[in-house]
Amino acid sequence: MTKPLPPGISLEQFNSAISEMEKVVGKAFVFIDDVNELRSYRDPYNTTNDADFAPSAAVAPHNVEQIQKILAIVNQYKIPVWTISTGKNFAYGGPAPRKPGYIVLDLKLMNRILEVNEKHGYAIVEPGVSYYDLYNYLQEKGIKLWIDCAAPAWGGIVGNTSDHGAGYTPYGDHLLMQCGMQVVLADGTVVETGMDTTSNSKTGGLYKYGQGAGIDGLFTQSNFGVITRMGIWLMPEPPGYTPFMITLENEQDLETVTDLTLPLRLNQVIHNAPMTADLLWEAAMSVSRREYYTGTGPMPESHRKKMAKDLHLGIWNYYAAVYGPEPMMKNNMELIQDAFGSIPGAKFYFDETRKGDPGWDYRVKLMKGEPNMTEFSLLNWIGGGGHINFSPISAADGKDAMKQYKMIEKRAHEYGFDYIGEFLIGWRDQHHIFMLMFNRMSEEEKKRAHDLFAILVDDAAAMGYGEYRTHLSFMDQIANTYSWNNNSLWDAHHAIKDELDPNGVLSPGKMGIWPKNLRGKA
């Protein structure tokens, strides 16, 4: 394949820009060899052509000063850069850029843990710090703080937080736990947010707002700047931790369990975000589809039932935890058992009765912020599994959960795919993650998955649901569903973009935000 060039840039201009970048970061940190270097900046799970998201180069700066110099170069040549931190958000595009030819601005070398404050429970990290890095650091130093990691945990704290990712401890709303950031704007200006902008600040990691407009959120799921540092609150290690699982026998139990959860969640009886995972999600941790069904299309009900029985799983499987001193946990667990015990057929499991089950073991780790990679086992459900995630938000309401589930399941079956999904109840909302899994070796299956995803966006929008995050391929389509008042929100995004990045060099097209020179041309 011929390597793409940045849009509107000649080979001579490209080579000249690359040469200037090499002077800034060193030749070893500018990557242009498509075979040996740039393959790690592709999206292995994309559902279209590999070339659609192929970068022309990648550059890895070591510090803010180098970022400023790189931005000066790309502004001069009007070359788009696509910023990544660890680039591991597979299912949403991984490290690949929105359009071919962009240069990836890879912040992996900026991987310092700048501060951990055990007393006040926060850390300040650079974008290249992964969940594993921070966890290992805390373990090595004996610091009694927990991280809250994504599953899988090879991703980065800054990247996941700025992509509005979620975790599984009581600190699972990552952006809510973010406190202060440093950003480099397109013109090279460095901005600190919150309290760190005062001289001799000692409260940057403690208080989020400072004085004036809070602008941290502007730099998340956007392309208005390059985040180079972030504060994140960490949970003090609690005196006790009781994870539990409830298996539910009937499809309709999703409605009941969701409605029973909301008051327990609002009143902090359940401390973390409970997950309700479907049978196949859980089964895929232990078995593959072919062990139960070798036919085509969605797995038939009879096979599902046998699998559920063999693996002691429910049609839905609910996971949550309580944290704190023993009397508090005991009290909360009594309330929880009273509430959910009313569901016919519901079975409770604890570590004594479930340990050794890969599905249980990895959830137990996640709910206490212990990084792992077990969730990737899901990809073995089919051979050569790839996936993109369809992630609509709804109220934490049983009827909404059922409505979304039935809509997605029906469409998935119509297109020949299994429904594999989970619901995560936040503070008042519910994230629904439908893992659209396909054989990444099959062009036909990839196209079918792509078509299914596109129609799900429209179906969900018609029902009043929007997605919280998405793959590169669908950023524009989903942006168009946030269209109230003649797209006034996106008009506001574009006004900010034009002001802060007039040459349109920073991550053009990220989440549907385009600079004026490329707007309407995607």
Partner: protein, 192 residues
Amino acid sequence: MLTRRTFIKSSLATNLAIAAQPGLALGLSQYAQEDHSLLIFSDETSAQAQQFAGQLNTPHSNIEKDVGLHFDTFNRFHREQPTGWITGLTRDSDFFILEQMAATKGYRTVFSAIHETNNNTVTHQVSSSVDKAHLIADSLAQSLENWPSWLANNITSLAHHELATAQANSQAGSSTNNEYLVSWLLIPSTSA
């Protein structure tokens, strides 16, 4: 109750100091061929993967389900044996993760093959250079139940330097069923 876990066997130079994590019994040995130290991963739930690792003369194994527990092993090998090669016969997800990690450290995939067993027939789908793919697939099929041993004996000579690959399928009877494994070889770009 549960039947499947990810088991990974890793081996590397005996003199490497490994800080084993709780619950792990990391096994260490050295397998060197053509001056390349080799780090080996295998899925321990699979008899085929065990045959593969056994043929490479690795007497120890570790048993668990999370490839993340091996990131330290991987990183240490890369640091201490920068010209070393990495191979495996694993679940697809484990290969995916290791391949992605390796790519960020300058490794490239120079051989991979899918070994899929259905209805007591194993199909070998080999990705290699145009002149080699069919030969490799046929050799695997002709090795019948011993294809993992053939693979182990030849893995380091299967590297090819073209990314444009040919795929070849070959089938043979198998006593196992419903398995999907991937064999693979990663080498540092500087070795290519």
